[in-house]
């Protein structure tokens, strides 16, 4: 208790709160700009915190991270381009809703869901992290492999029109994730003789191409720029959503929250995965699944609650086991080491006030981000008043610079352009992008855990079926894949 109070008194000082507020603003900007993310923000800020008090430094880093995860939905809502991988699923409904002239409502749902996700996940993380972490260590390569497969299949099952195309897109994602040095033995695959591909395809370049370049170019080509600009004068109250809408999404939010928290605390996964899984679950549980992708607020609630719940989830293995939940927590771990602390199971014993400080900072940052986004909610839609022929070229320049800055290499610009063209071909061919991006993001982890699972066990492939948790994940995957097909056949018969 004394450690908690020490941490609380450390964070609740103007010396800590003011820099945190500035970092939240910066985090939102980083999250909203395509190509940048909270991870880049944390990386850039890290050297500036060297000379600071460790509690203030860590609080600032966490503030920029929370701002970055939450800010990603702004560009997803306004222009249909996810600021980060954590808001890919947000695009599907927030952008169409915004195009219909309900930008403030889409933003309001995003702000509310983001706050609920971050705030409660951090509170739960603070209270239960030592207990939850004990469960996390029981997950072996078999369970992680099966979970990843389950997540991909859940997203594939969203492409009900043609399941072959969904699975085909996922297979392409797996193939592209094979580019570069293989895990375990570092065998160079599909590098075409260029050293630029030894490390694999950069995720930022791929995402910018597949979403930003593809969307901007296709909107121009198809003349699909008929945006309904919302008149917000005196019409919007509060967050622009009703209590009834929140009540009707309560189950959806709780489910998405648990998905986000669970995925967040699994090593290597995070908000990039949880938003798509929660979206797929919300769609399959909805009474009106056909309205998803056309501006249904259930999709925004699901995506934004889950990706922000992953913030608290990712803090659990980081603080209790010294294992990063995602890329940002890996950088934060580096920050702990720089400040003279040793991450791992003993961190709670050696520096309990620092651990509590991180949780409190995340909760305070969630409140700051909520207040900042609420204040800016009526200003963000003004971006859409910029004429189309000025807005889209500016976005494209930001994409080029974002792709370059993510690796400091001009090669990444070509990666972005390649995937821009690939995204256009996928759109024209009717191939869904979600299974592709998810399979690409998880590919390396799937391969690593598949090979580890096969190497560690004498039972070979059977070991994935004989371990109960792994078997449950695979059964859920199979069920999700077969159910829409059976439903479709039954519908046709009746």
């Amino acid at each position: 208790m004394s450690a908690f109070l020490t941490a609380l008194s450390g964070v609740m000082t103007p010396q800590c709160l003011l820099p945190m507020l500035a970092c939240c603003v910066l985090g939102i900007i980083f999250g909203a700009l395509p190509g940048l993310s909270g991870t880049i923000g944390v990386t850039l800020l890290l050297p500036l915190t060297f000379a600071m008090d460790s509690n203030i430094g860590m609080s600032m880093l966490i503030a920029i991270w929370v701002g970055g995860v939450s800010g990603g939905f702004i560009s997803a809502t306004l222009i249909g381009i996810p600021g980060t991988t954590s808001s890919i699923a947000t695009c599907y409904d927030a952008y169409p809703l915004s195009k219909k002239g309900q930008t403030t409502k889409a933003l309001g749902v995003g702000i509310f869901a983001s706050f609920i996700g971050t705030f409660f996940s951090c509170v739960i993380a603070m209270l239960l992290s030592p207990y939850i972490a004990k469960v996390a260590v029981l997950m072996g390569p078999w369970e992680i492999f099966s979970l990843c497969i389950c997540a991909i299949v859940l997203v594939v099952s969203m492409s009900k029109d043609n399941i072959y195309k969904g699975l085909g897109a996922a297979s392409m994602g797996l193939l592209f994730s094979s580019v570069g040095m293989a895990p375990i033995d570092a065998y160079k695959r599909l590098t075409f003789g260029t050293y630029n591909l030894y490390g694999g395809i950069d995720r930022v370049g791929l995402m910018l191409g597949l979403f930003a370049v593809c969307i901007v170019v296709m909107n121009y080509v198809k003349k699909d720029n008929d945006y309904v600009i919302e008149d917000t004068k005196g019409r919007i109250h509060g967050l622009g959503i009703t209590l009834g809408e929140i009540k009707s999404n309560l189950v959806n939010m709780i489910r998405s929250f648990l998905i986000g928290l669970w995925i967040g605390f699994l090593p290597g996964m995070g908000a990039g995965l949880s938003n798509m899984v929660a979206y797929a679950q919300a769609q399959s549980a909805s009474k009106h699944p056909e309205t998803f992708g056309k501006g249904n607020i259930e999709g925004i609630f699901a995506s934004e609650t889950s990706n922000n719940a992953s913030v608290g989830g990712a803090l659990i293995p980081m603080s209790t086991l010294g294992i990063p939940g995602d890329a940002t927590t890996a950088v934060l771990l580096g920050g702990l080491i720089i400040h003279g602390l040793e991450p791992g199971p003993l961190l709670f014993t050696n520096a309990p006030s620092t651990v509590y400080c991180m949780y409190i900072a995340a909760i305070v940052a969630a409140v700051f981000v909520f207040a900042l986004q609420f204040a800016g909610m009526r200003l963000f839609p003004k971006i859409l008043k910029i004429p189309y022929h000025y807005l889209y070229p500016t976005i494209l320049v930001f994409c080029f610079v974002g792709a370059f800055s993510s690796t400091n290499n001009a090669f990444n610009i070509w990666v972005m352009l390649f995937f821009g063209a690939f995204g256009i071909l996928m759109t024209l061919g009717g191939l869904p992008r979600s299974p592709f991006i998810l399979a690409f993001v998880l590919g390396k982890m799937i391969e690593q855990n598949l090979r580890r699972g096969l190497s560690y066990s004498e039972k070979g492939v059977l070991s994935f079926l004989t371990r109960p948790v792994s078997a449950v994940f695979l059964a859920v995957a199979l069920f999700s894949l077969v159910l829409p097909i059976i439903r479709g056949r039954l519908k046709r018969k009746t």
Binding site: S171, Y220, K223, P393, L396, V397, F400, F404, G429
Partner: protein
């Protein structure tokens, strides 16, 4: 129907090519590790099977045979795609050769011109906007975010 046949055919061909490549990756001997070839092979076989599935299921989606399939892009749309692609590739080449400043002004100017369709925008307005945005992006990335921008191999 025809579109799905083409998509399925391309997917199957790509899957076949990837499978042929994956089969050349050597597998380790005397170890339970299946080697680096297994994973691309899984992706390749998946792509091949799904390509075949897409190809053979084409036309079973309920479309009546008399319904004519629209082309994916009209002539006008294909022309617009060609223009914007040329500008983006040109911008990429210019960034590599002459760096951020001049290439961004030129690319912005060209993009504003094509994105405004038939609408005429004054030369000075386009140029002024291009210069201001380029300067703004440079200031944000160079001084606020401390990120280097491409300087070009010719300078």
């Amino acid at each position: 129907m025809k579109k799905d046949r083409i998509v399925g055919g391309v997917m199957a061909a790509a899957g076949l090519g990837a499978a042929a490549y994956a089969s050349t990756i050597p597998a380790p001997t005397g170890s339970a590790d299946p080697g680096s070839g297994l994973f691309p092979m899984i992706g390749a076989v998946g792509l091949l099977l799904c390509g075949c599935g897409t190809f053979f299921s084409a036309g079973k989606s309920g479309r009546r045979p008399e319904e004519k399939e629209k082309p994916a892009l009209s002539k006008e749309e294909a022309k617009r795609l060609g223009w914007v692609s040329a500008i983006l590739v040109g911008y990429g080449v210019m960034l590599y050769l002459i760096g951020f400043y001049i290439s961004s002004v030129l690319a912005l100017y060209a993009l504003i011109t094509v994105f405004s369709y038939e609408k005429k925008i004054a030369f000075w307005k386009k140029l002024l906007f291009s210069v201001v945005v380029t300067a703004g992006v440079w200031l944000i990335f160079r001084y606020l975010l401390l990120v280097m921008l491409p300087s070009g191999i010719l300078f």
